[in-house]
Symmetry: none
Subunit: 218 residues, 4 copies
DNA sequence: AATGAATGAGCGTTCATTCAT
DNA sequence: TATGAATGAACGCTCATTCAT
């Protein structure tokens, strides 16, 4: 579970205001704060985690915490965004695979791996998104969609080539969402599913499943 | 969306204590309370719905409310349970269909219909389960599992018969969960999915999808 | 200084919301709250008086306090309104005097008496009005104006009659404001003025002063 | 409204301590700080103006700000003092007028002009004095009194001469305060009074008023 | 059985001031 | 001298629950 990998996109952006002038410091400190917060949110949820608990866990005074974020809700947004970036980065890395067909399977595989590794985070994020203020909520949904879009695009680039059937856009879309959801299922229904399968088995079966859907459409 | 259908199992059971002696009265009053609460939870979520709001919406004094439930958490449990019963009842009704093979498709269909009709409820329940005390949480997960079990059992009764492949128990289980999750997806990702498909289209494609998985295993 | 006299207009009106249903109780409890608050505001000012101090002084729990008012600002408004009513009532009582000319002097006299008796309250109100939310601020200024209007109307009814000169409306208005301000001066500059004069002397001299202005305009 | 005119008395005096050795620098920097603070206090009041806002507006770091003042309350005192000096200077300038009788009218006129020009400052100062620590509060009241004393002295030098009646000291005093208060009224009740009169008209009428009081005492 | 007034622990947030660099 | 990150006491307010009537 540990600390989140450093993401490509900066955390110290302009979306969430801070009193601190040194942006490097903001980046670093926010990383600490977010890491601590993620753990607490996973353990206790959003409401039962107080700002004081967060400050303490991140070794900040309550006053200092509020120098780096401007509300608990802002922090919530940063948490969600960071997790999404983590997921997206992992999946996008899989895209470097040159063989197109293999690339698609790779993307699914990487995504499922991330869902396995970050099960707690993903679960937590779903429980917590509802408490975002509307404006952030839209952005988080968009981030979610961006990940689904990776699947859709990977599929799209295969559609009609080699042995792949030409897929309707709507179907393409649906398959993308199915992939997203089946990945989350590994995290959400862990008690049931992870009892029966290793992640490798799960990937194999569900990938077949997904490919089945695709070839059915021929 | 209206009121939830009367469920077979009594609400005034011993799980959730009450001050009131007359069980008939408890049943009736709890129905009112739960109906109002469901609406409020859907609209405002669990935390932003105060017990005062609930009492007002259900035409109770705050004091009376607490005669029929003993805490907000108890009420939360009753709400989750009631929704699960609703879903289960609908799916079980589909089992009366005598033709076995058709029965399986019917079960899926009915389940997806329920997911369509009760999208708000299902969504809400997922956002809200996390606030249950541990003991209730287990029970709600069990209820969820009961529904999945219906799919598994329906499949199981087909396995190895007629044209159906003989399915490994593990696979059977997984397919059951896939069905559950794909039904929820219609509610969870409504903005994306319901834009592209009618519920009928969605049922057709996802059913094919599921059957594909089954026959793949031959 | 003691408790404020019971005012004609009810405190339990609809302007300031309450959670309590019994309006009689609201009236009574608000009276206690306001009395205590006035004392505290006079002694410590608005900002240094905490809601917990108010609750304690009025023998309420902090929770109960907030059943009767909905914010500290609302309470501030009630305080200002109550003081203004007190002043206005006293001045209006003086209007019952039947002799017109004498009535005018009586109004001034009564007003100055109130300024004497309620010096602390008037002083406090002036220090505190600035913290009202805009909507209340306008209403408080209006209340203030209503009192000035009493002087203006009393003068107006004399204008052009008997020995009184016919006064321009603008002048009438100005004289009214002068009266208001010279009354407040007795409270505001108490350290300097009350050292030299009894309230009776002060009334005599300033009344002459005011009448001088009036007859000057002949 | 702009910047306040340079006052004769030094700002960098010993009343308010500083960390900085160079007194010239202190004077200059305090001038900037006070100018910015006055604007902010007028716009937002004392409590809603944070020291951070002040530092920013005066182009200081928060650290530097505290090199030149030692607390927000000290700054408040400097602000009040500066405004009083401004008012006093303007009024004292009017004293240079050689003709005694005319000098009195001139003093009133100048004072009313200042009240017109510095309405915002005067208003603000009255709202803000209450937050001074006791020791400063006394000094500010004294400053206020000094201005009133100018009127009293001007009157006193006329008393019993030429056509002027010989005035009791107490009356002299009262007239001085009346003048002060009627000047402030132009600022305090601007919405009502400035709608009806130009400052010239106002000066004329109120001067007559004041003179009336004086000659009445003959 | 029904009412609703009373309770108080607990929360998110602010801001004047300090002090290491 | 100048900077700005760090501090933490203190505040207004909420709301599930109780209990006297």
């Amino acid at each position: 579970m540990g600390k989140l990998k450093k993401s490509k996109t900066p955390i110290a952006d302009t979306e969430v205001p801070t009193q601190i002038k040194n942006p490097e410091l903001v980046r670093e400190r926010r990383r600490q704060i977010i890491d601590s917060t993620v753990k607490l949110f996973i353990e206790h949820g959003y409401h039962k985690t107080t700002t004081r608990m967060i400050a303490k866990a991140a070794n900040f005074s309550i006053g200092s915490l509020y120098e780096y974020i401007s509300s608990k809700e802002d922090l919530l947004y940063l948490v969600c965004k960071t997790i999404h970036e983590e997921v997206r980065d992992a999946v996008e890395n899989a895209l470097s695979n040159t063989d197109k067909e293999e690339r698609f399977a790779q993307v699914i595989r990487q995504y499922f791996y991330v869902c396995d590794k970050m099960g707690d985070h993903i679960l937590m994020m779903y429980q917590v998104t509802q408490f975002l203020p509307e404006k952030w909520q839209v952005m988080v949904l968009e981030n979610e969609l961006n990940i689904t879009d990776i699947f859709i695009n990977a599929l799209s680039s295969l559609s009609g080539k080699d042995n792949f059937p030409t897929l309707d856009d709507k179907i393409l879309n649906l398959v993308g969402h199915n992939i997203s959801v089946l990945g989350q299922m590994w995290a959400f229904r862990r008690w049931h599913v992870q009892r029966n399968f290793t992640i490798e088995e799960y990937i194999k079966i569900q990938t077949d499943f997904i490919l089945g859907l695709i070839f059915k459409q021929k």
